[in-house]
Symmetry: C2
Subunit: 99 residues, 2 copies
Amino acid sequence: MTDALTTAERDTLIAPLLANGWTMVNGRDAIQKTYVFGNFVAAFGFMTQAAIWAEKLNHHPEWSNVYKTVDVTLITHDCDGLSVLDAKLGAKMDALAKG
Amino acid sequence: MTDALTTAERDTLIAPLLANGWTMVNGRDAIQKTYVFGNFVAAFGFMTQAAIWAEKLNHHPEWSNVYKTVDVTLITHDCDGLSVLDAKLGAKMDALAKG
């Protein structure tokens, strides 16, 4: 069981993501970001790297891809809200997208 | 420019997909299928193989993934409808999903 973040933890862990292009999802305690790459190979290359990290963390995104665009939603189904795993995976994805 | 399929071509190329789990999308001349695998690694492994084929065909899916489930929509944006490329990629995805 993964605990939902406390308010204090959100200030530390989620606020930096919200300052970096992530937004809260309407009606869900989840965060969303849209990445746009140069082409499909770059977009799917990002997904492949993120997929390996997701499996390592045992925490998987809800995501979609259309050509060079990747939409990611992060939430922890265990606690039906944001946990430390979403903060970790979100920060990792941002790092991978920078290359 | 890729031409939309004729009615006769649909009977030959799209009908077999519709008989194999693909369905027409409401309000779009597009086909959709949901694949369910054993786990995330299997689901993303399928996506990785399909991504390489998509790039080879220069024809890319609209798709999403949540853990072991992959939702695929195929349409040819050039003709805003189904073309031979959708038939090819759909059949290839079915073959890849079988392993």
